[in-house]
């Protein structure tokens, strides 16, 4: 008999922590990780609502989000490696040049 509010609060908490992570951290990898956190928060809400209405669509959509997160992480990390190989740094601040 858990009111759905609990799940929404949990999602909100993770979302906020993710946003803080994205904003405050300088290390690009940790920023990517916080994005994963945000996506997870969204997933929790989706699954909670799909469970509330008994319709599986929410879980299927969560599945798509995970697939997308995988794609995004792969490309993101690829960019980081390429960047690290040229500029020997992983900090967001130093990624200021568009073309070097």
């Amino acid at each position: 008999m858990l009111p759905i509010g609990h799940y929404l609060f949990l999602g909100l908490a993770l979302f906020i922590v993710g946003v803080i992570g994205v904003v405050t951290r300088r290390n690009v990898i940790v920023v990517l990780m916080s994005i994963e956190l945000i996506l997870n928060a969204v997933n929790i809400n989706l699954v909670a609502f799909s469970r509330l209405y008994g319709d599986v669509a929410g879980q299927v959509f969560a599945l798509f989000i995970i697939a997308d997160a995988a794609a995004e992480a792969a490309v993101g990390l690829g960019i980081i490696i390429a960047f690290f190989r040229n500029r020997e740094t992983v900090l967001a601040d130093e990624m200021d040049l568009l073309k070097w």
Partner: protein, 178 residues
């Protein structure tokens, strides 16, 4: 609804929710990137636990295999390849600490207000989750599979194209500047 299933559900939920939030906070605050990666893994496993509590087993196992077993392995690999000691010494936290606080406060206020007001609205009230024992529910993975391939076939194809593009992008990106 027998008391014990109720109690069990709440206990499990609070347990996993606590772990998720705490390890999420630790992920963001840890100075050492590998520690934050480990805590992120615990956070993801906790959310997987919550999916289980919501009777979404297929999602639970996909989260473990794909998220933790796949994406996080990628993260840990990249962390290993990018030699840490350079990153650790540099200052980890940007100065926009106050900006972040401001944003999160605004967000919290907005959603908090919304949740609080739904409770107040007459009649409708806070929708309550019906906790049902496992056997009553249709087998989860079959249901997900049926809807995935029947009603959501187009998004499924688009997702596969998306993954293909991402794969090619990652390979090209990581290729040595030959």
């Amino acid at each position: 609804m027998p008391l014990r299933i109720l109690m069990l559900d709440q206990v499990i939920f609070y347990f996993f929710a606590a772990i998720a939030v705490v390890s999420a906070i630790l992920t963001v605050t840890r100075r050492n990137v590998v520690h934050s990666a480990i805590f992120l893994i615990t956070a993801l496993l906790a959310t997987a636990g919550i999916f289980l509590q919501l009777r979404a087993e297929f999602l639970f196992i996909v989260q473990i295999i794909l998220y933790v077993g796949g994406i996080m392995v990628l993260f840990v690999f990249v962390i290993m390849l990018v030699n840490l000691d350079v990153a650790v010494r540099q200052l980890q936290f940007a100065r926009q600490k106050w900006v972040a606080m401001l944003i999160s406060l605004a967000l919290a206020a907005q959603v908090g207000l919304m949740l609080w007001s739904t409770g107040k609205m007459p009649g409708q009230g806070m929708p309550v989750l019906v906790a049902a024992p496992v056997d009553k529910l249709p087998p989860n993975s079959e249901a997900v599979a049926r809807s995935l391939f029947e009603s959501y076939l187009l998004p499924f194809e688009i997702a596969s194209v998306l993954l293909l593009v991402a794969m090619i992008g990652a390979v090209v990106m990581a290729k040595k500047r030959a």
